[in-house]
């Protein structure tokens, strides 16, 4: 029987990144993926003949540059096309456009508010500085502040020294970002509703919180991390869809000798005497390794694959209370023609960027109000891209694909999700969007609606949470996913976690996978 040093459960982008780093360090690695292809939620698929979609996650923004570099992802086929603008259509046929070109952007902002145009650069610089202050933490295994272990104490002191080294002003600015609501934070800077709405939207992505709830300013910063390297607004689209990200990482892992098995669902992690010894597949096949790494989320890993019997009670309690509450859905459309937004009807560069349905903070807050009480937002927030405008190979010639990220569609829907409710969600999205682009309804050839329940069923993310657990302060850094277990280790010896349910959390970032690999290798980042 073939043996391995490390078995990785789940071939999502973090599992693959972890595999690539371990294989690169000479370990014999096996990745087991339940589905017929790797990628998890970073996956491309020809859903309708000729139309390819990034079915779930759809932009590349947070992928750590060191991963792109160290794993040579460009050589393995990753090609990122920049998304250069954000268009926010407004009700009165007006719009707010944010452009990559600085002067053009400033002129457009000044059209809405001269003051906002003035403040915009300073705001950008501040968030840039904050993101830079937080950036080193992304590749750190968070030490346990209550620990007595000398190694962790040293890490704690290093962390303390790092923060003490930051200017006091920056520390206070960071504290504000951690504790404020996106709405309050933006109110301090801007006055234009459309700008505040669109900016605060990045504070609510992936969480069941409204822009007026404290804690959302941090999610806003989290999404600014991607705007760091290279160009200021470095959100991009992976050529071929987000599956290309996973494919490139998989290729890097394989080039270093890692083995990847698809259609190999793991049903159980084998534990003997408090140690992980391998895994059992659905068919009963046993595979052994001294190290098992789970890319699945904490609930599936510990309550599903490992089982409570092997775990301490307080740890089980922590995992049980860890919050998912998925709130995001996705609508993928195959289109016969491009949408014509009444505010900007001609095809143009705005269709190669993001289109955001976020006319005001109030609009988003009302969308949240519905979801808070278990209903689909009557008028949801949407983040839209047209991948075929960036990569024509995504659709047949002359035709297009549209990717619509939707919030809020609560996992815990009153009455539960059903086919009818899924279609209701699809209709709500199309109806709302048609108000801004009336030709849309007639242009739709096919429609795919993915609810949080679908995300859970298809990809295995509990409650459909795209971050493997809400990115709230009480579930971050040394509390992610459970106090004292934030360093990728688990109470089971030899069992590690590498999913985005660990620090630093979600987005197609890869940091969790890389950090976990370094923790297994006993190295600091």
């Amino acid at each position: 029987m073939k043996t391995y040093d490390v078995i990785i459960v789940g071939g999502g982008h973090n599992g693959l990144a972890c595999a690539a780093y371990l294989a690169r360090a000479g370990r014999k690695v096996l990745v087991l993926e339940r589905r017929e292809r790797v990628g998890g939620a970073a996956m491309s698929e020809e859903v309708f003949p000729g139309f390819r979609f990034s079915v779930f996650s759809y932009v590349v923004s947070l992928l750590r540059p060191e991963i792109i570099r160290e794993l040579e992802l460009a050589r393995h086929g990753l090609h990122i096309l920049p998304l250069e603008s954000t268009l926010t259509p407004l009700a009165n046929n007006d719009y707010l456009a944010q452009w990559a070109d600085h002067d053009q952007n400033r002129r457009e902002l000044a059209r809405h508010s001269r003051r906002d145009a003035e403040a915009y650069d300073e705001f950008g610089l501040l968030l840039h500085r904050m993101a830079r202050a937080v950036k080193p933490l992304l590749s750190t295994a968070p030490p346990d502040p209550a620990s007595l272990d000398p190694r962790e104490l040293i890490d704690l002191l290093r962390l303390g020294r790092y923060f003490r080294g930051l200017p006091e002003k920056d520390l206070h600015a960071l504290w504000k970002l951690l504790t404020m609501s996106a709405a309050d934070y933006l109110d301090e800077w801007f006055e234009s509703e459309a700008l505040k709405g669109t900016k605060s939207a990045s504070g609510i992505i992936g969480t069941l919180l409204g822009p007026r709830s404290p804690g959302t300013a941090y999610v806003l910063l989290h999404h600014y991390m991607g705007e760091l390297d290279g160009v200021f607004r470095a959100w991009g689209f992976a050529k071929g869809g987000n599956g290309s990200v996973s494919a490139a990482i998989a290729a890097a892992a394989q080039a270093h000798g890692a083995e990847i098995r698809t259609q190999a669902p793991v049903s159980k992690v084998l534990v003997s005497g408090g140690r992980a010894t391998g895994v059992v597949l659905d068919g009963g096949e046993e595979l052994h390794a001294s190290i098992v790494v789970s890319g699945a989320d904490p609930r599936r890993t510990f309550l599903g694959l490992v089982g409570e019997a092997h775990l301490p009670d307080d740890f089980v309690a922590s995992i049980r209370r860890y919050k998912f509450r998925g709130a995001s859905a996705k609508v993928n459309l195959a289109l016969a023609e491009l949408p014509r937004f009444t505010c900007m009807p001609q095809p143009g560069p705005h269709l190669r960027g993001a289109i955001s349905i976020s006319p005001s903070v109030d609009y988003l807050e009302r969308a949240y109000d519905d979801a808070k009480y278990g209903e689909i937002s009557r008028r949801p927030y949407m983040d839209i891209i047209l991948p075929s405008m960036l990569d024509p190979a995504m659709a047949p010639p002359g035709k297009h694909v549209m990717s619509i990220f939707v919030q809020y569609a609560p996992y815990h829907l009153n009455g539960g999700w059903s086919d009818a409710r899924r279609e209701q969600l699809g209709d709500t999205v199309i109806d709302t969007l048609s108000e801004y682009a009336p030709n849309l309804k007639g242009a739709i050839l096919h429609r795919q609606v993915i609810t949080p329940a679908d995300i859970e069923r298809i990809v295995g993310l509990s409650e459909g949470n795209i971050f493997q657990g809400e990115l709230t302060l009480q579930q971050m850094f040394f509390l992610r996913p459970a106090p004292a277990w934030s360093r990728y280790r688990t109470p089971i010896h030899g069992l590690f976690q590498c999913g985005s349910g660990t620090h630093p959390g979600g987005g197609v970032m890869g940091a969790s996978g890389r950090n976990a690999a370094l923790a297994i290798l006993g190295r600091r980042a």
């Binding site: 502040p145 209550a146 303390g160 923060f163 003490r164 006091e168 002003k169 520390l171 206070h172 504290w175 504000k176 951690l178 504790t179 404020m180 609501s181 309050d184 109110d187 301090e188 919180l209 007026r212 709830s213 404290p214 804690g215 209370r321 919050k323 109030d362 807050e365 009302r366 109000d369 808070k372 009480y373 709230t472 302060l473 009480q474 040394f478 509390l479 106090p483 004292a484």
Partner: protein, 445 residues
């Protein structure tokens, strides 16, 4: 001996004035309006000792919380843990079992706050503060880190099942803040209101602190409205009263909110424009009104809370969030004899004069209280900017080292000799901000 003027004769102003006088300064205490009633806030022993107070009385009703049940019964929480447990058992046996443990865990954290509150706020990277946190032990530290940023609804959902229990506790945590129980950072407020009380009591007591000090012959309060604070060459020189009289002083301490103190009473030209901008952004939104009601006959209780579930309170907040008076507000009554004071939340400050508020409260109270013969809106104290008693809303981004702004958190202002001692200052407990401020002044002069 320094000439000192203290602006504002609420508990904070009185404590500051008295401590400075005892240190040998000559103090003039100005008040715009006579404060009424008891001082809301616990009086820490440190403060009482420094003032050599005798006859200090703390008042908190017992049961401290009383909420009607759907079936006509009453749910009560007492100072006596066993009695509370019995009352909770009627709602939910599992909740009753968990109550003592919950109270113990919260009390551990509240004790930490009590220690932090009688000192100037720690700095964010204070090593002493870090060691103090570690002394809480693993459980305490984990609780603190998790709990501070949490929505109070999430905390209560983790522990309890009963809507009645969770609704009432959640309501008390969001008292006087423009947030609902599902907003992050509200669990911290449950601790804030718990500080100074025995385990299991999550209601701030009131005291006769201000009354005792006002009764002292050593303190004279002058009825006068401050027109401006005089500054020359970046140094305070005195206070000009409305009418033109100037009181010369080399030390001026203001219990008035920082925005008014620094941008209205002081010529803002003395300040860094960034600070002025930051002061404008200090959130101080009022969210509640007080009603004075008279019953036909005295009720057989002293307190009543109408907040039947977390969703009820959250929906009340939704209205306020969108600028309306809550259609179903949460109410909290403190009764003495035939009269009662009603805390009515939420009312956005712009709506505070809404004529329908009294009728709404009367309707909501009808099933639970004796007939109401009179109900009128009580005027909010002038010292509450926009109707906010904490002057600066007590939220995590305006607490501790951030209160009310990092630049002002040491009670000192950029104007030499001008200090702040009001509710907007750490720890937002009446009298304690004054105590911390006076001590900071005495250390620095």
């Amino acid at each position: 001996m320094t000439e000192v003027v203290v602006i504002g004769a609420d508990a904070n102003g009185l404590v500051t004035a008295e401590l400075l006088r005892r240190a040998g300064h000559s103090v003039t205490l100005l008040q715009e309006e006579a404060p009424r009633g008891r001082t809301v806030g616990w009086a820490p022993p440190e403060v009482a000792n420094a003032l050599e107070l005798s006859g200090l009385e703390l008042y908190c009703p017992d049961p401290w919380l009383r909420a009607p049940l759907g079936d006509g019964g009453m749910f009560e929480l007492w100072r006596d843990m066993a009695r509370s447990v019995e009352s909770i058992r009627r709602l939910d046996a599992r909740d009753a079992e968990r109550w003592p443990r919950f109270c113990e865990r919260m009390a551990t954290l509240a004790r930490l706050l009590e220690r932090i509150y009688v000192e100037p706020p720690p700095s964010l990277v204070d090593l002493r503060f870090a060691f103090r946190l570690r002394r809480l032990g693993r459980q305490g530290m984990e609780d603190l880190m998790r709990l501070l940023p949490m929505p109070v609804a999430e905390l209560l959902d983790e522990w309890f099942q009963s809507d009645v229990l969770k609704g009432a506790l959640g309501a008390h945590a969001v008292r006087h803040v423009m947030q609902g129980p599902r907003s992050a950072g509200t669990a911290f407020r449950l601790l804030h209101y718990h500080a100074g009380s025995p385990p299991g009591v999550f209601r701030t007591p009131s005291s006769n602190l201000a009354g005792l000090l006002r009764a002292r012959s050593t303190i004279t309060v002058r009825q006068a409205k401050t027109a401006r604070i005089a500054v020359r060459n970046g140094e305070v020189t005195g206070v000009v009263l409305e009418g033109g009289e100037e009181l010369r002083a080399s030390l001026v301490v203001s219990a008035v909110d920082p925005r008014r103190t620094l941008t209205e009473l002081t010529e803002p030209g003395w300040l860094d424009p960034d600070l002025v901008r930051a002061l404008r952004h200090v959130r101080s939104r009022g969210v509640a009104v007080k009603l004075a009601i008279t019953f036909e006959r005295p009720p057989d209780w002293t307190t009543l809370t109408l907040a039947p579930s977390l969703d009820y309170v959250e929906r009340a907040y939704d209205d306020a969030k969108h600028g309306r008076v809550s259609a179903q507000p949460w109410l909290d009554l403190l009764a003495e004899g035939k009269v009662a004071e009603v805390h009515f939340q939420y009312v956005p400050h712009q709506q505070a004069g809404d004529a329908n508020i009294g009728a709404l409260a009367t309707k909501l109270l009808a099933p639970h209280a004796p007939a109401i013969t009179e109900c009128k809106l009580a005027r909010l104290p002038a010292a509450w900017p926009e109707g906010q008693p904490h002057q600066a809303e007590l939220a995590l981004d305006q607490a501790l080292w951030m209160r009310p702004l990092p630049e002002l958190s040491g009670y000192r202002t950029p104007v030499d000799g001008l200090w702040l001692c009001g509710q907007a200052m750490h720890p937002a407990v009446s009298g304690v901000g004054g105590y911390n401020c006076a001590r900071a002044i005495l250390r620095n002069t």
